[in-house]
Amino acid sequence: MMFVRSIPRAGGVSPLRLALRGLTPPARRVSCGLSPIVFLVVASVASAQTPGLEPTKLTLSPAPAPSPALKYVLLPELKDQTPGNAALEYYRAFSPEWWGFLRQEKTREAADKALETPLKDLPRKELAWIQTSQMLRQVDVAARREYVDWGMTERLRREGYSLLLPDVQSLRQVGVLLAVRARLEIAEGNYDKAVYTLQTGLALAHHTGDGNTLIQDLVGIALAQLTFVQLEALIQRPDAPNLYWALTDLPRPFIDLRKALQGEKLGLYVALPELRDLETKRLTPEQQQKLLPALGGGIELMIYSGSKPNENHRLSGTLLVLRSYPEAKKALIAEGRKAEEVEALPALQVVLIHSLRQYQRLQDDVFKCHGLPYWEAQPRLAEADKRLRQARLRLEAMPFLELLPAIQNVLRASVRMDRRIAVLRCVEAIRMHAAAHDGKLPATLTAITEAPIPLDPATGKAFVYRVSGDQATLFAPPPQGEQANPSNAMSYELSIRPKK
């Protein structure tokens, strides 16, 4: 071999020297010179594997589409529903008689542990009480009511930002118990019951997300994600049904943010009712006394009745009026108001009108993006975020800017869930293909003809699919410009169970 010659007896020489001695001088130079390059390549590959983004491993069995195609559905259909408001039934499920045991710490810990335990190791006897729980049966009834009305609109109009949401966290606990029930049913092979429980879980999620607040939307998304984890457990069972059409039948988006964004707009006018007629009626001296400290940074104090702002807020408000009045006056005249009308208004009112208009523009720049596909919304949200930062530095839209919610996180959570549904549809399509092709994985997603392959709702492009031997990787990459992490990327490793 041209690079190696016979190595003399060791006699106490270090292994490194030995290794180098075994090479000819040219080979030594090449190997030493290349070693940092090799390490650099290894290091870059290691870092590109995005530590923290663990792939979800699914071992699947081939399964054709069921016949009829919608034999399984994941939300209760009209034929299964009963008239009435689901909210009343959900609140009945909170009866103290049913929750005495469920609210104990050890019960919660047992349920949380059951979510992490592999199906074969579930302590079925200890958890059997979940399958007979009257509270969960009540939730099953609630999930099959025709509509839900939480009564939040009226409460928002009355209480605004002072609204309390004591029930949302308990709804999450209901979701956990439903998930454990689903796991028990899957472990026992009762797939029809498991699908029924998944329907309840997704209906609970959909109903929760039908509220008028962003927090309810986020809780709805979390409940849905919890249910989809159990769905992934179900489709991995050897004789599990194919749920492609059931997943396709789900509404898109699963949780619509529209109502919650409109609910957010109500809060400001409840907190400061004087703002409702700000453009049309002259502020009274009492109203000005109330709004001046709000302008000076005390708006949160203004929201909560009984709290009094301090003199610092009044002083800050006065300084802000002195600073902003000339610009505000100029802007109102430029936007169409008559100069004599503007000059007749109190300086505070002129500044507040201008600030409120700036706030509404900035707010709508953000809120309008929710109706766009995520890949179109993302750059616009980035621009809106930039304008918000500039507005903060220039003290524009004060004091209302403090109340603007960061809806980017909510949008991201919503699209993440829609992405999961799309990825699971791909997985089920792969199972269909495997059933028609002797258990083989498709070479590419375009090779699947049994069902349409959805595009990635976050990027508008196809998912990344690669086959390597007996395994396939299905990857949902992060949106452009973002580094991959568990909140913006998904990775699945798929393998088909060999035939027995």
């Binding site: 001088p25 030594r28 130079r29 030493c32 010179g33 070693s35 940092p36 090799v38 390490f39 650099l40 290894v42 290091a43 290691a46 530590p51 923290g52 008689e97 049913w98 929750w99 005495g100 045991f101 609210r103 104990q104 710490e105 919660r108 009257q134 049966r137 009540q138 209480e159 605004g160 930002y161 002072s162 609204l163 309390l164 949401l165 004591p166 949302v168 966290q169 308990s170 999450r172 606990q173 607040t213 962003l214 927090i215 986020l218 809780v219 979390a222 809060g267 949160e300 929201i303 909560y304 009745s305 009984g306 109340l403 919610p405 960061a406 809806i407 996180n409 909510v410």
Partner: protein, 179 residues
């Protein structure tokens, strides 16, 4: 030969005689090897430095890769603002003109949230949007339930009543089935 030349030779002979011969002599092979090695080292000086630098860089990168810390769960400290309890309302002195009503509504706290220490929507929204749903306050765990009160005692029913409606009512209450 002259006498001086003979003396010089004799001196030279004596000087040589004083020298001690080396036992091994010159190892020609070793000499040639060292000469060749030295000449190669002069030519390979630059490569040696490059090789050494590459090895150091490789070791450094390798140790960075090896010793890279595993991702640690990050603790987030979430500050939950708890409103101080509202001061009790000042008692209004009774007037002699108006009769004091026998029954009156209890005075509610100015801000009902303060009584329960709960977080209002605005603060809750800020926490959740910034740090996720796990910052929602957990439901307060209840202590271990006291032994349930006997249904007969609770409803003041006869102990062993055989009346069908009473048995039906008890069954409904115990099972949770709708009436």
């Amino acid at each position: 030969m002259s006498g001086s030349t003979h003396d010089e030779l004799a001196e030279f002979h004596a000087a040589l005689a004083r020298l001690t011969p080396t036992p091994d002599g010159i190892n020609l092979a070793q000499l040639m090897y060292q000469a060749g090695r030295l000449s190669a080292a002069r030519r390979n000086g630059v490569w040696r430095i490059a090789t050494a630098a590459s090895m150091m860089l490789s070791l450094g990168l390798g140790s960075m890769l090896w010793l890279r810390p595993l991702p640690q769960p990050t603790e987030r400290i979430v500050q939950v603002f708890v409103q101080p309890p509202a001061p009790p309302p000042e008692p209004t002195p009774p007037t002699n003109d108006e009769p004091t009503p026998a029954l009156s509504e209890p005075d509610l706290p100015t801000d009902a949230r303060q009584a329960g220490g709960e977080t209002d929507y605005l603060r809750l929204r800020r926490q959740v949007l910034a740090h996720g749903l796990d910052t929602l306050p957990p439901p307060t765990p209840w202590p271990a339930a006291a032994p349930p009160v006997d249904t007969n005692t609770l409803l003041d029913l006869p102990k062993d009543s055989r009346e069908p409606w009473i048995r039906f009512l008890k069954h409904s209450l115990q099972s949770g089935d709708p009436l």
